[in-house]
Every structure is written in structure tokens, then in C-alpha cells.
Amino acid sequence: MSSPLPQSRVRVQRIAEAAVERARLSVVPRLRTRTPRVPFVTLVSLLLVAGVVGLLMFNTNMQQNSFAATDLEQQASELTAREQGLQMELEELRAPQRLAEEAQRYGMVPAMNPAFIKLQDGKVIGNPIPASAADAYDVRPPEARKPKALDPDPVIIKVKRKTAAERRAEAKRNNGSGRNDSSTTSQGDGSTR
């Protein structure tokens, strides 16, 4: 490999030594720069892990929100129900029926002789007469008529008047055994009806 070189060197030297010198090729040692693998792997794995963890967190978060939404919805509906319950209570309290009953309890009656005062001159228009108890009206609803089964006619049992001798004999008997006897007999009467 090295033997022909001196010859050519001599010849060329004559022509343009400097140029030849410059153009001379030589084998250089292969430059093997080993790029460090670690940062790249780290980056990729970081990206991967971040992606997976992010997705997971995003999903979990969404699930959490969904739970929270369900909870809040339930709470909202509970509160709505409560509000409506209270509203109903309020309506009941301000119902004219209740107010009228309450007013009547305080002895109030509707004014049946309206009169007006003119604010400009204090003149009274109309004929003011104090209200009286006669102006009251029937606020309470009539009592419901009970069906016959719940409101039976009274059962009248006729008992023969005892003679003086019998009464005395009974009194004697009762003195011995006390009240219990008489109460059981009266209960017996009730159940047979």
C-alpha cells in the first residue's frame, strides 16, 4: 500500500507541491460519537407516563365530577322538595279559611257598614256603625254526616225497676266483692250490643 507513494510524491511535487499536499487524502479514524440514550428514553417515557397518568387523572376527575353531579342533583331535588313543602305550609297558613277561623277566634267579624274618611278634609263618607256579633258568618265547614254504620241509633235497653228487697240483697252482695264485679257486668252489657 505504501510503496508507490514516494514515486508520485516526487513527480507531483514538481508541479504543485502545495496543492497536492492539500489534496492528499488520508484515512482518518472513524468518529463514533455515542449520543447518550438516557435523555431520549427519559423524555419518551416521561411523555408516555405523563400521558397515561394525565388521561387517568382526567378520567378519574370526570368520574369524580359525575359523582359530585349526581350528589348535587340529588341535593338540589331534595332542596326543591323541601322548598315546595315549606311553600305548601305557607299556603296553608295564608289560606283564607285559616285566617278567617283565626280572626273569628279573636272575636273579629267582617265590617258590614263600610265608611271612608277623606284625608283632605277629614270628612267621613258613609255611615259608620260598629260591627256586632250578628255580622259574624259561619266559617267552619259543616260536620260530615257519618254513615249509619259509624253512627248507630242508640240502643235502649229497658230494665225493670227492682223492688226494695232485691236492691237491698244486691247491695249486700256487692259490699263483699267490691267494684270489680259491677264493672265486669257493665262491660258484658256493652259487648252484647
Binding site: A81, Q84, G85, M88, P96, A100
Partner: protein, 587 residues
């Protein structure tokens, strides 16, 4: 190094080809198995599998439209929808503890113990209604309490319920709902407007929670619209209570009272008795659930004389001072007509004939009309035609054809017998006099609404027409003032101290249901308005079949006075301060 692969390459190449073919065959077999399965899933019965998948995790929930409220003229709710819940049992879980659960439920909710027990033990089902339309706070409390005791298997579902906060106030008009449909009154007539359109939503669930990115289809519900009435709740309440007192006091069958705004024809109160509690409609007999004010026609009696006299004055036939010689009995086609009191021949003015309610005087005056003329006037007053205010089951009453009247018929109709009216019609007719001779269509719906038979009703569709001249109306009103005169009038109990009140009593013979003849019972009524010289309100009261012998003045007059006083006070109408009429009664 390089020689070894060369020696092994030849046999390997052949086996590779073999392996490739073998691999293809395997893949083809697997793929065709997939294909077959695909065909089975998608080609043969796709819907069953789709449904199965849906059942697994997709939930469809109805979104019930909120039903519109029925409100009074000030927006106070007379009927409203509140959140209710239905309680559902899963019998497979409740079966073993059915006894204690049923006894607790029947105690708390007032439901039948044995029916509940049966439902809690039912076989082959996992869904049983236990109670419907329970107020939600109550339902939750009950279900939670049972869960705490260790009894599982009860759940709740949404079930909106209708509440009538004022119980029986205007119940006859408003009506009520059944389990799933509107059954009576405005609830039914305007159901389309009130109910709205239900929506529904479909979504995937997992573990009781909605899956965030799952399928989700929602059709939003369209809520129903409110219905506003011209009724004023407090006036309605007072009218109903006063009417009830009067009907019960007179031991009568039923009664109706109507209060109207003179100028607009808006009905402020339309009371019926007997009424019912709209929250418990089943507790009352069916005959009490409708509105008698429009559904029960009756013969109006003497209140109708007002219309006859107004017509006569308008036609120029009489004036309030026209002298009439009233004989003790008037012969009419062979039948005698009497007055409600015995008298010799008396000399009444037209005003006297009206204020003393003389049948003979009225009939004699009305003989100046042909039947057609009187018929035309009465028709213009609105008699014989339905008012179409939007209340269900209205009967228009009956005004016979004039060709069939004859002398007796005309005489009778002149003082209010032989024709029938409903109370709203009659109130509107009397209101015509109050409104200076202009008839305003009565109204009970504010704005406008469409009934279930397609009729448009409401204040915005209201029309007016002139029936008699303003002068005739004023003169009639003056004649009516004599009725409530505290000294000479026949209905002093209707007078309101300090005010000029125009009114007219009526006592009519009633036609019995069975015999279709006058059966000796009466309809008493009172119609009038105040202040007489600048009317603001018309009140008309009818009481059917009083059994204590009272006439219109005594039975219905006090109701008129109380309701009218209430209205004048509530709306701050001061007395006009003018001096009352001085029309002569006799000559």
C-alpha cells in the same frame, strides 16, 4: 460466520413458504369464524342484541313536563303542581319482612295494610307500586326510616302531584285530576294548555352514576302554561262561606252566588253550594262536583221582571211613572194570575209594580209587546243562549219560540216563569242594566284560552252589545232602588247603610224532576248592583228549594248584602253621596 446461514437457508426457505400458507389458512379460518359471528349478530337478529346491550347500561328517564298552575286574577295559585314521589317495592327483597314493613307504611301513609302486604309479597315481579303522589319529604322520611330499621327493597321515583291549596275554594270551577288524567272542571277543559309535553333523556350508567362521555340523548319537556281566572280568591272564599251559611240556614237543596265586575263582565266570584274539597274529590257525591251556576237551569221568577220593564221603557211603551190599575186577579186564557200578596184593585205606578213585584202589573204592562218583540229583547239580554265562558257542561236554558207563547205564555214569561236560565246568564242580564244598557259577555278566564272542544274563550274574546238605551237602563235602576228601600221596600235586608243599592227579589215555582210540573217547591233569588247611580259590581244569588218558607228577599237578600258590602269595602268604593230616588209607587 458467513457460511453457516448459507447451509441452513435452503431448507428454511421451503418451510417458510409452508409456514406462510399455514398461517394464512389459520388467519382465514379465524376471520371466517369472526365473519360468521358478525353475520349472526348483525344479520340475523340485531335488535335483540342491541336491546340487550342497552338494558345492560343505558337508562331512559322520563322528564315529566311541569303542569301549569291555575291562578286567580292576582296570580294566587288555586291549583299547583308540587314534587311528589311514588314509593316502589321490590317484592324479592321485601317478602321476608313484609309484615312489619306493611304495618309501618299503613301507619305512616294511611294506606291499606292488607293490600300493601299483598304487594310486598307478590311473586315474579321486582316492581310494585306501594303509594303514589306522596309529598317528597314524607316519602323520603318513610323510606329512610325503613332502611334504618334494616328493611331494604323500597325505592322512590318522581311522581308530580297536584295540590289545591285552598281546598274547596272555586273547586266546582277548577275541577281535579285523576291518577293519570284530568277528570273535571278547568283541569279537563284546558288540559292541553296546562299539561305541556313530556320529554325524556337517555344515558349510560355505571354503578348508579351517569358515565360522563357515554351516549346521552335528551328531549327537553315543554312545560304547561298557567291558566289565569278572573276569580278573586278572597271574594270567592267569602261568597262561598256566606252562601253556605244561607243555604244551610234555609234548609235548601243548593245555592249559587255570582259577583261580577259591571264594566268588564269579569266574574269575581262564582260560588256553588254544596261544594267539595278538590284535594279529596272522591269523598263528595258526584252531583256536587260540577258547577251548578251554569249546568242547572231554573225558572228565574221575578228578577226577570227587571228585563221586561227595561225593555218596555226602552221601547217607549211605559215610563216608571206610568199608572197601572192592578186588579186582584188577572184572567189569562182562562187561567188566573195572582200576586204574591192578596189585594183589592190597587193603583200602582210601573215603578211600584216592579218594586212590589206585582205579577199582574208586569203582565198587563208587557201586553203592549207582541211575543216577538219581548222575545227579541230577552234574546238580546242573553237568555236562551249559552254564555260559553268555558265552564264544562253548560246548559243554555230555554227561551221558548214566540210563536208558541200565546197570551198565558207571554204573561208568564213577562214575570219570569215558563222559561229557564242559568245563573251566569241571569247575572249578565242584570249586569246589562247596571252597565247602562250594554250587555257584556260574562268572563271567567283572563286573557284567552282554548277549550277542549276548540272554542276560544276569555276576556280578550269578550264582546259587547247595546240592548236598551242608557236612559232606559238608568230608569230601571231607579225603579230597582225602591226594592231595597229600608222603609217601603220588600227586601230591606239587602240594603247597605249609606249606599244606593238597586236590586230585585225573585221567588219562582220550581219544576220538579219527576213530574215535570210545578211541584210546590221554589227557587228564590236576588240580583242587584251598587252603587245604584254608578254601578261597580253586580251580585246575583240563587237558592234552590228553601224549606223554611223564605222568599227571595229574606233568603238570598242577606247573601247579596254581605257579598256586595265585602266587595265595596275591599275595592274601596265610597258611597256616591247622592240622594236616593223619589219615584212614586202608587198613584
Amino acid at each position: 460466520m458467513s457460511l453457516r446461514p448459507q447451509t441452513t437457508r435452503a431448507p428454511a426457505r421451503g418451510s417458510a413458504l409452508f409456514r406462510l400458507r399455514f398461517g394464512f389458512v389459520v388467519i382465514a379460518m379465524v376471520l371466517s369464524a369472526f365473519g360468521a359471528r358478525l353475520l349472526q349478530l348483525q344479520g340475523i337478529d340485531p335488535h335483540a342484541y342491541a336491546a340487550m346491550a342497552a338494558r345492560e347500561g343505558v337508562q331512559t328517564v322520563d322528564l315529566p313536563a311541569a303542569r301549569g298552575a291555575i291562578v286567580d286574577r292576582n296570580g294566587v295559585e288555586l291549583a299547583s303542581t308540587v314534587d311528589g314521589l311514588r314509593i316502589i317495592a321490590d317484592p324479592q327483597m321485601t317478602e321476608e319482612n313484609a309484615g312489619p314493613i306493611a304495618s309501618y307504611l299503613s301507619q305512616e301513609l294511611g294506606i291499606d295494610y292488607f293490600a300493601t302486604l299483598g304487594r310486598l309479597r307478590k311473586d315474579d315481579t321486582r316492581y310494585q307500586y306501594i303509594a303514589r303522589r306522596v309529598p317528597s319529604t314524607k316519602a323520603r322520611r318513610v323510606v329512610d326510616a325503613l332502611e334504618e330499621k334494616g328493611y331494604k327493597g323500597l325505592t322512590t321515583e318522581r311522581d308530580p302531584m297536584r295540590d289545591y291549596p285552598a281546598d274547596d275554594i272555586a273547586a266546582n270551577l277548577i275541577g281535579f285530576l285523576g291518577e293519570d288524567e284530568a277528570l273535571a272542571g278547568f283541569e279537563r277543559t284546558f288540559d292541553k294548555q296546562l299539561s305541556g309535553v313530556d320529554g325524556e333523556t337517555t344515558y349510560e350508567v355505571g354503578g348508579g352514576n351517569r358515565i360522563p362521555l357515554g351516549t346521552n340523548n335528551t328531549v327537553k319537556p315543554v312545560d304547561g302554561q298557567d291558566l289565569q281566572l278572573t276569580i278573586e280568591r278572597d271574594v270567592q272564599f267569602f261568597t262561598q262561606r256566606v252562601l253556605r251559611e244561607a243555604v244551610r240556614g234555609a234548609k235548601a237543596d243548593s245555592g249559587t252566588a255570582i259577583a261580577m265586575n259591571v264594566e268588564t263582565g269579569e266574574i269575581l266570584a262564582d260560588a256553588d253550594y254544596p261544594s267539595y274539597n278538590a284535594n279529596e274529590p272522591l269523598e263528595s257525591p258526584k252531583r256536587n262536583l260540577g258547577s251548578r251556576a251554569t249546568s242547572d237551569p231554573y225558572e228565574p221568577g221575578s228578577v226577570e221582571k227587571v228585563l221586561t220593564f227595561a225593555s218596555l221603557i226602552d221601547a217607549g211603551k211605559i215610563t216608571p211613572r206610568t199608572p197601572i190599575t192592578v186588579p186582584p186577579v188577572l184572567e189569562s186564557q182562562g187561567a188566573p194570575i195572582h200576586d204574591h200578596w192578596d189585594h183589592e184593585t190597587i193603583h200602582l205606578t210601573a215603578a211600584g209594580a216592579l218594586s212590589k213585584s206585582s205579577n199582574i202589573g208586569t203582565a198587563l204592562s208587557a201586553r203592549q209587546f207582541t211575543p216577538e218583540q219581548l222575545h227579541a229583547y230577552l234574546t238580546a239580554f242573553g237568555l236562551g243562549q249559552r254564555t260559553n265562558i268555558g265552564v264544562r257542561g253548560e246548559s243554555g236554558g230555554r227561551l221558548p219560540d214566540p210563536s208558541t207563547w200565546g197570551q198565558l205564555g207571554q204573561d208568564n214569561i213577562a214575570f219570569g216563569q215558563g222559561l229557564s236560565v242559568n245563573a251566569v246568564q241571569m247575572a249578565a242580564a242584570v249586569n246589562t242594566i247596571a252597565n247602562g244598557g250594554i250587555h257584556v259577555d260574562p268572563n271567567i278566564i283572563k286573557g284567552s284560552a282554548v277549550t277542549d272542544d276548540g272554542t276560544k274563550v276569555g276576556t280578550s274574546t269578550s264582546t259587547t252589545r247595546r240592548v236598551v238605551s242608557e236612559d232606559a237602563a238608568r230608569q230601571t235602576s231607579e225603579m230597582m232602588e225602591l226594592v231595597t228601600d229600608p222603609v217601603d221596600g220588600i227586601a230591606p235586608t239587602s240594603a247597605i247603610t249609606g249606599y244606593r243599592v238597586a236590586g230585585k227579589t225573585g221567588t219562582a215555582q220550581r219544576v220538579g224532576k219527576e213530574c215535570a210540573c210545578y211541584d210546590g217547591t221554589f227557587t228564590v233569588s236576588f240580583g242587584g248592583f251598587a252603587p245604584a247611580d254608578a254601578p261597580r259590581f253586580t251580585v246575583y244569588v240563587v237558592i234552590q228549594n228553601p224549606r223554611n218558607g223564605q222568599g227571595g228577599g229574606a233568603a238570598a237578600g242577606p247573601v247579596f248584602r254581605k257579598v256586595m258590602t265585602y266587595l265595596l269595602r275591599k275595592y274601596g268604593v265610597a258611597p256616591t253621596g247622592t240622594s236616593p230616588t223619589t219615584l212614586p209607587v202608587e198613584w
